[in-house]
Symmetry: C2
DNA sequence: CGGTCGTGTTGACGTGGATCAAACGCAACG
DNA sequence: CGTTGCGTTTGATCCACGTCAACACGACCG
């Protein structure tokens, strides 16, 4: 005896449905009404589990879909011809991955899970099609892409103008803020990435990152033990970014 | 006696019409058929002239439209609280400005003309509306935004992993390539920006930029006199970016 | 239980680019 | 034609971060 439509719907809600997802205020469904979310639900077909250190996609791979992170933590990076790596971002649940692939139909960076993770697969052609129907969805998607551009500008500012400790302070405040948005403690969290990955993101060597962590700890701004971070003095960290003149 | 519709249309073609614009293959009309371009024409209402050193828009200003550069040269920059500037890009004819404003309905950076310039104003709501009708336009717009994200990743790579001379080589090759696309000489061109602006973009001080120019000239890779650049050895510049290992 | 591997910390030292300072080229202008 | 001022070049010095190296720590495993 096969499942009733209601049963199928119910099971989907427990698993994938955007309408039941506690990330929907951070993710694509933001601003949609119930009916529109239902249509988005139908589009977001599969979920995909990605084990720690596995690629969600690789640079050069054909672009087919965007991915919304349900659980887990990712990094994206680019490698240039001589093997140097630049980490371009760290992504958390509710954030969208894959927009780099739209322009050439191929991904231009790698997306790698930093812990066992799960994403919702959003076939891109279908997303474009649906957003031709639903103006709110279209606009929100444009906002998501634009936000990525603005974020990238912030990283350029960081890499172009800040010194090592300022970069690390900015990084910690950014991570803290994003954990807060997701309902976690702003002050205490577990970093999923190595010192080397942080360094690559911040344009620093891992030793410099490690030293900056130690310095912050000596100054009583944070407490560090391995990847366990506790922020003790947020205002002081913020003040590091407001330093008058260059 | 008022103008006939034909005359109005004709005058518009000489001035604004996307259909008659020699940048259409670089700009938003790319990939559209004649009828679709005509509809885009109607949307791209005003043109706007921006004098040298004038702002096209400022960080914080309400976002209303995107801008397609018709003639001229722009820079975009962000300023942080303590006044440090980061140039996030230099833009040429056919490129689109303003996408940073979509996410918050306010611009997040400044766009400043580096010489007397002219842009086509593309009211954003109308663009969204039209691209709900024309899938090709919608997709192409998404590609334009995605390309900006990919470009930003390239800048992060540059700022995060390259040394001064590599950065300048990458900059020169990039400028040269974009001039070529626009039908100008790949080898000889006039820079519109100061050494300080180049430095801000590349995360270097103006003295370092100047020294790198001089060094390249000594090595016979380029010839420099003020902002007049002639590239003499493109392969050698490219080789600088392929240097094995970090 | 000892070995090994990946990750992180810390110290000593070197260097690429920043900083400080002076002078020059060139265009605008009285 | 000299003055003014901005942008650029060049030199001398400094220092933040990179490099190299040793060691510490925990997880995993034979």
């Amino acid at each position: 005896m096969d499942e009733s439509a209601a049963q199928v719907t119910f099971r989907r809600m427990l698993t994938t449905a955007c309408s039941a997802c506690n990330l929907r205020e951070l993710c694509l469904p933001f601003g949609l009404n119930d009916d529109e979310i239902a249509r988005l639900d139908r589009l977001v077909g599969a979920r995909r589990k990605i084990g720690r250190q596995q690629h969600l996609y690789r640079a050069g791979a054909p672009f087919e879909a965007l991915y919304a992170i349900r659980v887990g933590f990712f990094k994206t990076d680019v490698l240039n011809e001589d093997g140097r790596e630049q980490v371009t971002g760290f992504q958390m649940p509710g954030e969208i991955l894959g927009m780099d692939g739209i322009s050439t139909e191929r991904h231009s960076c790698n997306a790698i899970a930093l812990e066992d993770s799960e994403v919702c697969v959003i076939p891109f052609e279908q997303l474009e099609s649906l957003s031709r129907d639903i103006g709110t969805l279209q606009h929100h998607f444009h906002q998501v892409m634009s936000r990525e551009i603005v974020r990238d500008h912030g990283v350029m500012m960081l890499l172009g103008t800040m010194r090592a400790e300022e970069r690390l302070a900015a990084f910690l405040l950014n991570i803290s803020q994003r954990f807060t948005t997701r309902g976690f403690s702003p002050a205490e969290f577990h970093l999923r990435m190595t010192r080397e990955e942080i360094g690559s993101y911040l344009g620093l060597k891992l030793e410099t990152v490690s030293r900056a962590f130690s310095k912050f700890q000596e100054q009583g701004l944070i407490s560090v033990q391995q990847r366990r971070i506790r922020i003790l003095d947020t205002p002081a960290l913020k003040k590091m970014l407001e330093r008058r003149n260059a």
